[in-house]
């Protein structure tokens, strides 16, 4: 995080030495700050902190979606069930697997594309359009387009593969292929975001560095290794972590393209929670599963936080 510290403010204000303004500011601020903060804080407590606490409480009860009240106290049994449930862990694994499958291509490809685009002599707007346009599409549009591409026999994906002379797999119907197919869709959909971040990172690199190294006779390849990659480290950390966090929250593509199938082979953690809470009506257990899932996200976020801190100190 790059939040600026508040500590420097009072001294700064004091040094300007405008007693009337300062004095009035003090008096006003407590009250007006409250007024300024209230709208956000009310909604924030109502729709973020409140539900978070409510969910935590609920996770210790056998709460049902279709019955009022919290239901019977369940102690830790919901958590025990989650920890013992093979289905829960396999859905958690699918979320992690999806992250593993999507993050490297999304980072590496976007980096390569950004490098190439940076060197390109013409048509940068076109590259940006081509790569970034999919990112702004709704997941439902993306999913419907790719379901059609993946349709056995009739879909373009099968058509292309068959033209090469290979029998096309059941892209979404075969448990061994479905996750890969969804991962490919996701790479297509969200690569543009990372691409743009890398383009911005590249623009930050001072031109003189390249010029002087050119004079020293460095090849483009050497320049990339000694200048571009090291100087893009911060962008890379950013891209990687944002990517991991986004991938861990996957739901839409699976829900629409496979409903988590075939045979649950693509059901991510969020869909498990959805199924448990809203299909099976077991919101108490669903809340417990959410909490465990939340801890996973928290760990990743913590790692990210520490990483950024360290990266910032270095720069």
């Amino acid at each position: 995080m790059t939040t600026t510290t508040q500590a420097s403010r009072p001294t700064q204000a004091a040094s300007t030495d405008v007693p009337r303004a300062r004095g009035r500011g003090r008096r006003d601020d407590n009250r007006s700050a409250l007024a300024f903060l209230a709208p956000f804080l009310i909604l924030y407590v109502l729709f973020v902190i409140g539900p978070a606490l409510y969910g935590l409480v609920m996770s210790f009860f056998d709460t049902s979606l279709v019955k009022s009240g919290l239901g019977k106290f369940a102690g830790l049994s919901n958590y025990v069930e989650a920890f013992k449930s093979a289905d829960f862990w396999s859905s958690m694994w699918h979320t992690v697997l999806f992250t593993i499958l999507t993050t490297p291509p999304l980072v590496i490809l976007s980096f390569i594309f950004a490098l190439l685009a940076e060197r390109a002599t013409h048509g940068k707007w076109f590259f940006r359009l081509a790569f970034f346009a999919p990112y702004i599409l709704p997941s439902a549009t993306v999913a419907l387009i790719w379901i059609w591409l993946y349709t056995p026999d009739l879909g373009l994906a099968s058509g292309v593969v068959q033209k090469v002379g290979i029998t096309a797999p059941q892209w979404l119907g075969d448990p061994n292929w479905a996750m890969w197919s969804i991962a490919a869709t996701t790479v297509w959909w969200t690569l543009g975001f990372n691409f743009v971040l890398y383009l911005a990172g590249l623009q930050e690199i001072p031109r003189e560095l390249y010029e002087s190294s050119s004079l020293d006779g460095a090849s483009p390849w050497q320049q990339m290794r000694s200048i571009t990659i090291p100087l893009l480290r911060r962008t890379t950390t950013l891209v990687v972590v944002l990517q991991i966090i986004a991938s861990l929250k996957v739901f839409d593509q699976m829900y629409i393209m496979t409903s988590g199938g075939p045979n649950f082979s693509t059901r991510p953690a969020l869909e498990y929670i959805y199924d448990i809470g809203f299909t099976d009506y077991r919101v108490g257990y669903g809340a417990a599963a959410s909490t465990v899932y939340f801890v996973l996200l928290l760990i990743v976020s913590a790692v990210w936080f520490l990483q950024t801190r360290r990266a910032e100190k270095k720069v």
Partner: protein
């Protein structure tokens, strides 16, 4: 949920940045251009294929071998989706909910950010930390309790159920706060000397100065709200109230295996965003680069 990183200075600083480094041989650069053109075209194929399919008559989409050629191009699929009517309701829902989310987010988050950045009050650090906590809690992990809570309020199946939980995003507060932090202190003090109220400093002075941040937050909040599936899927049941993604994802049964109709619906659902993107391409791209916002 979104995550925030990197300082906003880039955003304003970059406008004046020198033309970036391009060295090495011309030939090598030409080669790069060629490779990129090839990849860009590959990247556009799924979209082009969707457009191609949408202009085919439904019967032609099931013909083998798979071909780009259209024997009888037609607007029929678009016309039938638009005539059938559901999509107009979905547009309305999506526009209304997204617009209200944007407006309420910009107002509430900028107010809070202004207080955190420019005012001095008791418990400031604690409140900052309290809101910081929100960065770590994505709405996805709250769906179960949130559904019951919103149900208890009697809001299910109204736009408010979609709107209100999506307004308090900590990320927006932090984006605004960073921009407010970047404003020179002297301006504000001069204004105060002239007897300006805190409200005026916020509304009349600070807000106009952080227009880029407002634009970035607005555009991204709009895109996320428009594209959000999970939460609206839970709270909107009446097909006439559904947003575009929910409608496309649940009512697909109507389209069956009429692929041209399905593609026409999918494209129509994305059309407003595609238009938005074409109009605001630069702002959107700079917003990404400058604020590191990600859905």
């Amino acid at each position: 949920m979104a995550t925030l990183t990197s300082e906003p200075k880039q955003f304003t600083a970059r406008k004046g940045a020198t033309k970036t480094a391009v060295s090495g041989s011309r030939l090598f650069n030409r080669l790069c251009t060629g490779v990129m053109i090839a990849f860009s075209i590959i990247w556009l194929i799924p979209l082009l294929w969707a457009v191609d399919t949408a202009f085919k008559p439904n019967g032609e989409t099931a013909k083998l071998p798979v071909t780009w050629w259209i024997d009888h191009p037609t607007w029929g699929s678009f016309a039938s989706i638009l005539r059938q009517g559901d999509i107009w309701h979905w547009y309305l829902s999506s526009f209304l909910t997204s617009a209200l989310i944007v407006i309420l987010t910009v107002i509430t988050a900028s107010l809070a950010a202004f207080a955190l950045s420019r005012l001095k009050f008791r418990g400031q650090g604690a409140i900052l930390g309290f809101i910081l906590l929100g960065l770590l809690i994505p709405i996805q992990v709250l769906i179960v309790p949130l559904f019951r809570e919103v149900g208890g309020m009697g809001l299910l199946n109204t736009y408010w159920a979609v709107i209100l939980p999506q307004v308090p995003t900590a990320i927006a507060v932090f984006v605004f706060k960073q921009f407010f932090d970047g404003l020179p202190r002297e301006l504000e003090e001069a204004a105060r000397m002239d007897g300006a109220s805190t409200w005026w400093i916020y509304r009349g002075m600070a807000m106009p100065l952080i227009k880029p941040a407002i634009a970035a937050v607005s555009i991204f909040t709009f895109i996320w709200s428009w594209n959000n599936l999970l939460w609206p899927l839970l709270v909107l049941s009446n097909p006439k109230l559904m947003t575009i993604p929910v409608g496309l994802a649940t009512v697909q049964g109507n389209f069956g295996i009429r692929y041209a109709d399905t593609m026409a619906a999918a494209l129509l659902g994305a059309l407003p965003l595609i238009a938005l993107f074409l109009f605001f391409q630069r702002q959107i791209v700079e917003g990404v680069a400058g604020t590191g916002l990600k859905g």
